[in-house]
């Protein structure tokens, strides 16, 4: 298969998503529109997967479209990095499109979603394919703007409009920073084309500026702490299928952009020692902060949004390790860090997409995002519970699922890091690995809380007691990522060689030999004596042992006797006596009181006498310190500035006339000065003066 065909597949995916966004102009009937929308999006997903896999296996191609500015046509190119992210987009888009067929049933006002959802997908596909700064920024903005309209889909709620505005503001700040980094690269290379940028030499100072601008810009879009303020507001209010795409794919597109600019356009030769350190520090702090805040949320989707911040942090730990190792001349280990980061990207896309779809299923049948009123849903929604459990196990980094593989690879690249620079820099690497361990263990606590409170125990409200299972489309949509999570967890040896094309193009290093050295069963990142892991063997061992234990112990023909619960001799329990979401996280709130600074209030309602309590209210609120301490002052400053300007606006008409007059005078003066300079030709004038 030639490279052109691969690119054609990718273009077909873009066209099919564009077609989907035109659907509302042709069809007004809700059912036909929904079916066609989901069908076209599924086709887009399939085409993206096909383009991604062929692109990774056989290389891509390049194409110049005669569109865009007259002196700058749109350049498209599919390389290994782009192909990998196409695969990532497709592998979540397909299940989400199938899921949407069920999820969007009963949505009355479908047209805005039908326009902007495919446009959003189109923007993401385009960013991955773009091969010049102009089309990259154009498609980046398509992605950002379309997702703004998706966040504000339910704009009748003031909260959603506010979240949408915050998102728009931060997305544009990010866009501006990214534009700035492209401007620096343009100044160094003299061209907007990536091919020229790649070859141009750049001075260390300007490279550092470009790195910082790109890091801040893409970091804002990816939700790196402390630039994450918009994320926990925007992700929960979007419809759940959109949240799945935003959290699963859009954040990864920001990671893609970072790799594209820093690893590809500038390249490992330009890395300075503090770049990797900074990325590593940002990753560690995002991972720990994200999961700590996730643990304190009682809104399912908000919790998942904070957990996305954690996972972006884990990806950045992998990337930061890769950058440090590449800087200090260990390209093989750097490739391992890069592969680990990419592996975690696709893993997170799958399990976070699945979690948001599961949360959407619960929301769909239950009507609220508040965990405190859920409970016992495993009995009402058995399929959703199984799918959600797999996602919880995966995201907690537990074998034999996929989250463990990528975290294990990051641990390996951290532990095999030899001496780098000074002792402190070297000690930082295992320290970040310890932060990764902390984040992983806290994530397990977090997802025990989610699964335990939402699906286990007794129903905490009437609505939870009457929830119903979702339809087959939604079940099918959730089943696909479940299978992929297990496949990526069991057979990393088959997937890593596929991804190997990425370090081959970025670092000229192939890991396939080391990974394949011991057959498909054993994952050995560098050498078998260093470390090895075999999920199939571990799973087979556990299954065999479990079956033996079960067959040996289980008496035949007897069903288990069911009775009232024991509860230490006090079986008369009430659903309200269960541990709730906020009580589950109470120990941590108390241990880390300095970090959380929770606002807790107890209010006793008395019944005539001070000893006779009738009702006790307890509220506990944990705020996001970054938002409070960093964003609030900036917002207040801007607001006060705007107020001061506002005062200037409220004067009479004569002031405005005066403004106009002075402006015209100023412009005339400028014009005449320029003419004078042009007429007398200043340098020759000065020559004449010096001659005299």
């Amino acid at each position: 298969m030639s490279g052109i065909l691969t690119l054609d597949l990718a273009l077909a995916a873009c066209i099919s998503s564009l077609l989907a966004s035109l659907l509302p102009a042709l069809f007004t009937s809700g059912n036909i529109l929904r079916t066609l929308l989901c069908l076209l999006l599924s086709v887009t997903g399939l085409l993206a997967i096909a383009a991604g896999i062929t692109g990774l296996m056989e290389g891509g191609g390049a194409l110049t479209l005669p569109l865009g500015l007259p002196w700058l046509p749109i350049h498209l190119r599919l390389d290994a990095l782009g192909a990998f992210f196409l695969l990532l987009i497709g592998s979540l888009l397909l299940p989400v499109a199938i899921y949407s067929q069920g999820y969007l049933r009963g949505v009355t006002r479908l047209a805005p979603l039908a326009v902007f959802l495919p446009l959003f997908v189109f923007g993401m596909l385009g960013v991955v394919l773009a091969d010049d700064a102009f089309s990259f920024m154009l498609l980046w903005e398509v992605m950002s703007l379309a997702s703004y309209f998706l966040v504000t889909f339910e704009h009748q709620h003031a909260e959603n409009r506010k979240a949408g505005f915050f998102y728009l503001l931060m997305a544009h700040m990010a866009g501006l920073l990214i534009l700035g980094s492209f401007a620096v690269l343009y100044a160094a290379s003299g061209s907007f084309e990536f091919a020229t940028m790649r070859q141009a030499a750049i001075s260390p100072f300007w490279a550092a500026i470009a790195f910082l601008l790109a890091g801040l810009g893409f970091g804002t879009k990816a939700g790196v702490v402390p630039l994450h303020g918009w994320l926990p507001d925007a992700h929960p209010v979007a419809p759940s299928n959109v949240s799945a795409l935003m959290s699963g794919i859009m954040l990864k597109v920001a990671i893609f952009g970072f790799i594209r600019v820093v690893w590809d356009l500038m390249g490992p030769g330009d890395f300075q020692w503090w770049w990797g350190t900074l990325v590593l520090a940002a990753g560690s702090s995002s991972a720990v902060t994200g999961v700590l805040l996730a643990l304190q949320q009682n809104d399912v989707k908000r919790l998942l949004a904070y957990s996305s911040i954690e996972n972006i942090g884990i990806i950045l730990i992998g990337l930061g390790l890769g950058m440090l190792l590449a800087r200090y001349g260990h390209p093989t280990l750097a490739a391992l860090g890069l592969i680990a980061a990419l592996y975690h990207s696709i893993n997170h896309a799958l399990f976070k997409g699945l979690l948001f779809m599961g949360a959407g299923a619960v929301l769909h049948s239950f009507g609220s995002r508040d965990m405190e009123s859920m409970g016992g849903l495993i009995h009402r929604m058995p399929w959703t519970a199984v799918f959600f459990l797999v996602a919880c196990l995966s995201i907690s980094g537990l074998p034999p699922f996929n989250g463990f593989v990528s975290e294990w690879l990051i641990f390996q690249s951290a532990l095999m890091a030899p001496q780098l620079g000074g002792a402190l820099l070297t000690a930082m690497v295992p320290f970040s690995a310890a932060m990764l361990a902390l984040a992983g263990a806290l994530a397990a606590a977090c997802f025990v809380k989610v699964f335990g409170v939402v699906f286990l125990g007794h129903a905490r409200s009437n609505a939870a007691a009457h929830a119903h299972e979702v339809d087959n489309w939604m079940k099918l949509g959730m089943a696909i990522p479940v299978v992929l999570c297990l496949a990526l967890g069991l057979l990393p040896v088959l997937f890593i060689p596929l991804m190997d094309a990425v370090p081959q193009t970025l670092l000229d290093i192939s890991l396939t030999g080391a990974v394949h050295a011991h057959g498909w069963l054993w994952l050995t990142p560098v050498d078998v004596s260093h470390a090895s892991y075999s999920a199939p063997a571990a799973l087979a061992g556990m299954l065999a042992l479990g079956c033996v234990a079960f067959i040996f112990l289980h008496p035949r023909g007897e069903s288990i006797r069911r009775s009232v619960l024991w509860s230490c001799g006090n079986p008369h329990t009430h659903a309200r006596m269960q541990y709730s979401a906020s009580s589950f996280s109470q120990p941590l709130r108390r241990i880390l009181v300095g970090i959380y600074q929770p606002e807790e209030h107890i209010h006793n309602e008395k019944n005539r006498h001070k000893l006779l309590t009738r009702k006790v209210h307890f509220t506990s609120l944990v705020r996001d310190i970054a938002v409070q301490k960093l964003y609030q002052p900036i917002a207040e400053f801007v607001l006060s500035l705007a107020k001061r300007l506002d005062r200037q606006h409220q004067t009479g008409i004569h002031t405005y006339l005066a403004y106009t007059f002075y402006t015209i005078l100023f412009l005339l003066a400028l014009l005449s000065f320029k003419q004078a300079v042009a007429h007398y030709h200043l340098p020759s004038l000065m020559q004449a003066a010096s001659a005299i």
Partner: protein
């Protein structure tokens, strides 16, 4: 003897000796407290009794509650069989390195906590919440102290790590001392022993592990308890492997295995006796002092890491 046979032998030994190890600690504690106590076989008798009893389950318990004992048991036994006890180079040690071993234990803990939440009693949720919180603090400390050894051996593979210690000349490494202290502290915490949790009591408002398995009965309870015993054995063997592997055999000869077995039992007895002494001489910590204990362990492990970089790498 083939190495696969020794692998099977040591896995079965770990499984069968685990109740004896727990019984040994209980007997030592009783003697230290001037009681006669039950003999070391008592945990075995308890297990046999529980296996014979009928299972009674709460009416609304879901399949999570029923499968959790099997998952907890198999994950723990799988983790235990990865740890070399007699032979250094066992076939199964390729399956999972130390990080995977910690993750297998985390898998067991995940299901244990879910089982605690499934019934919907206040006790179950309480135990789950505390177990997950404290485990989250213990896990980085444990990995950190393992990393100290991994950095020296350039490997997370247990076989390679043990070989590295066996083949390097005996010297007192400050980093290893720090790592060992941290590891011992974590082992006490992970196994729910005094001063973190008291395995001997039910119905205490500070209980952690027991609170999650309160509703279990019959063979389910037996599996849960057995898994806890195997975990104690696993940690003792792991500490012996990492810090004092001397005597482990590198070839699967009969004499070598017999010597390794004798030394293994002696090391285990020493460690378990130390545990009994600690449990007798210390009082249980207040619940919210546990994080300080665990972060102390983390700091000690980190000091070990720093001293590895400062003192040992250059030398």
């Amino acid at each position: 003897m083939s190495s696969a046979f020794v692998q099977m032998l040591q896995a079965v030994l770990l499984l069968l000796l685990a109740p004896l190890a727990t019984g040994f600690v209980a007997t030592c504690k009783a003697r230290l407290q001037n009681r006669r106590g039950a003999d070391v076989m008592q945990p075995w008798r308890n297990l046999r009794k529980l296996f014979g009893k009928e299972v009674v389950m709460a009416a609304h318990a879901s399949w999570i509650f029923r499968t959790a004992p099997y998952v907890v048991f198999t994950a723990t036994v799988m983790a235990a069989s990865v740890v070399p006890a007699l032979l250094v180079d066992t076939p199964l040690s390729l399956t999972a390195d130390v990080i995977a071993l910690v993750a297998l234990l985390a898998l067991a803990r995940f299901f244990l906590a879910l089982a605690g939440m499934d019934i919907g009693t206040a006790f179950g949720g309480m135990g789950a919440s505390r177990e997950m919180t404290f485990a989250a603090l213990a896990e980085p400390a444990m990995l950190m102290s393992i990393f100290v050894l991994s950095l020296g051996a350039h490997s997370t593979n247990l076989t390679t790590m043990i070989n590295h210690t066996l083949n390097s000349p005996f010297a007192l490494h400050p980093s290893l001392a720090f790592a060992m202290v941290a590891m011992l502290m974590i082992a006490v915490a992970e196994n729910g022993r005094i001063p973190i949790d008291n395995p001997g009591t039910h119905l205490e408002l500070t209980m952690i592990h027991e609170a999650m398995i309160l509703e279990y009965s019959g063979r389910h309870l037996a599996l849960m308890e057995w898994a806890a015993m195997v975990k104690l054995m696993l940690f003792a063997t792991l500490i012996a492997d990492l810090f004092m592997p001397w005597g482990m055999t590198t070839d699967a000869s009969l004499v070598g295995v017999a010597v390794a077995f004798a030394l293994w039992i002696a090391k285990l007895a020493g460690l378990l006796l130390a545990l009994a002494v600690i449990e007798t001489s210390l009082a249980k910590l207040r619940l919210f002092e546990v994080p300080e204990y665990l972060s102390g362990a983390f700091v000690i492990a980190f000091l070990g890491l720093l001293s590895y970089y400062m003192l040992e790498v250059g030398a």
